[in-house]
């Protein structure tokens, strides 16, 4: 089977059907249609994956060109698909996790008046994401890139009647746009250097590229990745994006869209291989982002915000791997992260659903009594992300840490930052679990949260004059119009089966997906062997003994993090207020700084440019018209209406012509 186009065809068809008939299908048929579309796409991915597997390792790719999109002489862009090992893996988990989340959303979004629209956007998103990973050239990837950005905007601001949600959507889109600028410049540079934007041809031509050019290309595409994958300096949109419904957060901001930056850089690994210090920059930006985000996560009170910062942090890990040229590690962590982060988000959504849409963890507590299934599944996710073996997160995180240890020049420092981040990860995730499911006290039973330290709310520190497009990040509540208030008499009940089933499935994967790339023997490196033909670049793993030591250190670190959180939040031996400082709660004031700069001098600069455009450029255009009018007015007296004047003019012309002829003759 080699009909690659089937994979994106299903969600596209679903999207079109929903556009035309979604409103008539309504709740829940529209949701089932969308889910079936993605499931169909998953089936096609599996079928194609199997057919790929049946081929020998050297020729595992299926290309399919549908038509020529831009036939411009030397710049030929075709609308074609490249289904090789890398895109096969991506398609499988995008469609698989996507289908599960669609299923979940049918239950979650029930009774929402805009139910069909949600699934329309979700299908469009899946279609764009598939286009992104299947495209065989940079322009097609960019089409998908922009498509997922647009869908992200549409879905974040799904409940746009609340201006805070609309602002969050705008912020996401605008911040991504800055990254897209890097993408476009990178594409241009690739075309100028290689004369093509086709991945296969780039792969062939890459070994001959100059180091400086490769570095420039790498940096430009990394800028694009920081936008899409929420790294420093463009990560500020992700915490605000929690304003969207939880399935959106799970799908887009945990499992798929945010990984497109990682995917892009992996696709361009032939170029990155020669990019010299750009790789170090990528690794360090990833590391610093991971650490800062982990710090911010431990001071958040909104359950979704914790997970948002956690996503930023885990993406930082993936970039550490890419910077160490450990693409397999990045890919491995991407897959396991998709499983356990989607699981955590969906679980958080179930908790929120059960708690009458309350998202502040300070009003939770002791929920394991009421929500056992949610508790168990989220517990598995917690263990996975904290890096406790044998769950998946441990294997993938450790792979990254081991890969970074030997990087020149400062590999050990990189490893250490990674380790610190892993410890913090364990800490804040345990904090989340304790505050939600343990704690002994059911906080919502009393009106005010007691015994928890007063951490200043995010909103209050926003400057009074900040524009609502920027730092104002409302509470991002899932505002269904349901009963919003959590009354003390509320008894939480488990969410319906439609929501629980995906949780269970995902927890299985979060538990066991470590088998994809176990480090013990070469044979067990299933993922690495699968993906190796499409990835360039070597990374050096430390010796086996060193790896064992590193692994043990990270296990100890994770355990320490868990234990310390236990002491602070369960036993209350240490005052949490000392840890949850305002600077962390406000994410190191990065967002606020942006608001100040752009709102203040930035806006003045923009106004200046707009004025220049109006006064100089427009005036020039208008001036041409006015000038022509003035000239015409001056020439008008020539048309006097007197026939004899005209005859005189003709006579003069005749004389001139004759004189010209005479002159020509005599020369």
């Amino acid at each position: 089977m080699d009909q690659v186009w089937l994979i994106p065809a299903f969600p596209v068809a679903g999207f079109l059907l929903l556009v035309l008939a979604g409103r008539r299908l309504g709740d829940p048929k529209a949701g089932w249609l969308a889910t079936l579309a993605v499931a169909g796409s998953f089936a096609a991915s599996v079928a194609l994956f199997l057919s790929l597997r049946s081929q020998p390792a050297e020729s595992r790719q299926i290309t399919e060109t549908l038509w020529t999109w831009i036939p411009a002489d030397s710049f030929q862009v075709s609308f074609g698909f490249l289904f090789d090992e890398l895109s096969a893996v991506m398609c499988l988990f995008i469609t698989g996790v996507g289908a599960l989340i669609h299923l979940y959303a049918i239950g979650y979004m029930r009774d929402d008046p805009e139910f069909p629209r949600f699934f329309t956007y979700l299908n469009l998103f899946i279609a764009s994401m598939l286009l992104l990973v299947l495209g065989d050239n940079l322009i097609l990837t960019f089409l998908g890139w922009e498509g997922v950005g647009a869908c992200s905007y549409l879905l974040i601001s799904f409940w746009f009647t609340d201006p805070a949600n609309a602002s969050a959507g705008k912020k996401a889109f605008v911040t991504n746009r800055i990254g897209d600028f890097g993408f476009m410049l990178g594409t241009f540079l690739v075309f100028v250097t290689f004369g093509t934007i086709d991945y296969l041809k780039i792969g062939e031509a890459a070994p001959g590229v100059a180091a400086a050019t490769a570095t420039a290309i790498a940096l430009l595409f990394f800028l694009a990745a920081t936008g899409k994958s929420a790294q420093l300096p463009l990560f500020v949109w992700l915490p605000d994006a929690m304003a969207g419904p939880t399935p959106v957060s799970a799908l887009i901001h945990a499992a798929t869209m945010v990984t497109s930056g990682v995917f892009l850089l992996t696709r361009l690994s032939p170029i990155l291989e020669h990019a010299g210090w750009a790789n170090d920059l990528i690794a360090w930006v990833g590391a610093i982002t991971a650490l800062l985000a982990a710090g911010a996560a431990l001071a958040q009170n909104d359950i979704k915000k914790v997970l948002a910062y956690s996503t930023v942090s885990q993406l930082g890990f993936m970039f550490i791997a890419i910077g160490s040229q450990n693409y397999v590690g990045a890919l491995f962590h991407m897959i396991t992260h998709a499983f356990f982060k989607a699981l955590l988000f969906l679980g958080a959504g179930a908790v929120i659903y059960s708690m009458a849409h309350e998202q502040d963890m300070r009003r939770y507590g002791n929920l394991r009594k009421y929500l056992p299934v949610t508790f168990v599944t989220m517990g598995i996710g917690w263990l996975a992300i904290s890096g406790i073996p044998p769950f998946a997160g441990f294997w993938s995180k450790d792979e990254i840490l081991a890969g970074s240890f030997n990087v020149q020049p400062a590999g050990q420092l990189l490893w250490f930052v990674g380790l610190a981040t892993a410890i913090l990860t364990a800490f804040y995730m345990t904090r989340l679990m304790i505050m939600t499911f343990f704690g002994g006290v059911e906080q919502w039973r009393s009106d005010a949260p007691e015994s928890l330290p007063e951490v200043p709310d995010d909103v209050e520190t926003t400057d009074a004059h900040a524009h609502d497009d920027l730092a104002h990040d409302g509470h991002g509540h899932d505002d269904h119009g349901h009963d919003h208030h959590l009354t003390p008499e509320h008894t939480p009940r488990e969410a319906p089966v439609l929501m629980m089933a995906p949780l269970v499935v995902l927890s299985v994967f979060a538990a066991f997906s470590g088998v994809l790339n176990l480090p013990f023997a070469d044979k067990l490196h299933v993922l690495e062997q699968w993906v190796e033909p499409v990835i360039s670049g070597e990374h050096e793993l430390p010796a086996a003994g060193v790896q064992w030591v590193l692994a043990i250190i990270s296990i100890i670190g994770a355990a320490t993090g868990v234990f310390f959180a236990y002491r602070v939040y369960q036993q209350r031996k240490v005052d949490a207020a000392k840890l949850e400082r305002p600077v962390l709660a406000n994410a190191w004031y990065i967002d606020a700084t942006y608001a100040d700069v752009v709102g203040g001098p930035g806006e003045a600069a923009f106004q200046g440019i707009a004025d220049f455009d109006h006064d100089v450029v427009d005036a020039a255009v208008v001036g041409v018209g006015t000038g022509t009018g003035g000239l015409a007015k001056r020439l008008r007296p020539l048309q006097s209406g007197f026939v004899r004047s005209y005859a005189f003019g003709i006579g003069l012309g005749a004389v001139a012509l004759v004189a010209f002829a005479v002159v020509r003759m005599s020369l």
């Binding site: 007296p637 020539l638 048309q639 209406g641 007197f642 026939v643 005859a647």
Partner: protein
């Protein structure tokens, strides 16, 4: 220069043409202006016939034939216009018809 050749005819024709051109610009009476145009046409006819003889080509005479036909048609229509415009005014001249101005 004093041997008589066809060039003399050309000189004469050029003279008539120039006189006609000057007359066209100087006179205001539309009928006289028309007559100057006829003068110029005749000068051209003379030139053509001269060249036809000098170059031994009967095509020149054919051209003269057509020029005459066209001149006749032109005079008919032109005079009709003049009659149509000028019949109401006495002492009208070309300068009075200046409505088509910019």
């Amino acid at each position: 220069m004093f041997t008589f050749t066809g060039s003399w005819y050309l000189v004469l024709a050029a003279a008539i043409f120039a006189i006609g051109a000057v007359g066209l610009i100087v006179r205001r009476n539309p009928l006289v202006m028309f007559m100057c145009v006829e003068l110029m046409l005749n000068a051209v006819n003379l030139t053509f016939v001269t060249f036809s003889r000098m170059l031994n080509d009967v095509g020149g005479q054919a051209v003269v034939f057509f020029v005459m036909v066209v001149a006749a048609a032109e005079v008919v229509v032109g005079l009709a216009i003049i009659v149509a415009i000028m019949r109401r005014r006495e002492g009208a001249n070309a300068d009075d018809i200046s409505l088509m101005r910019g």
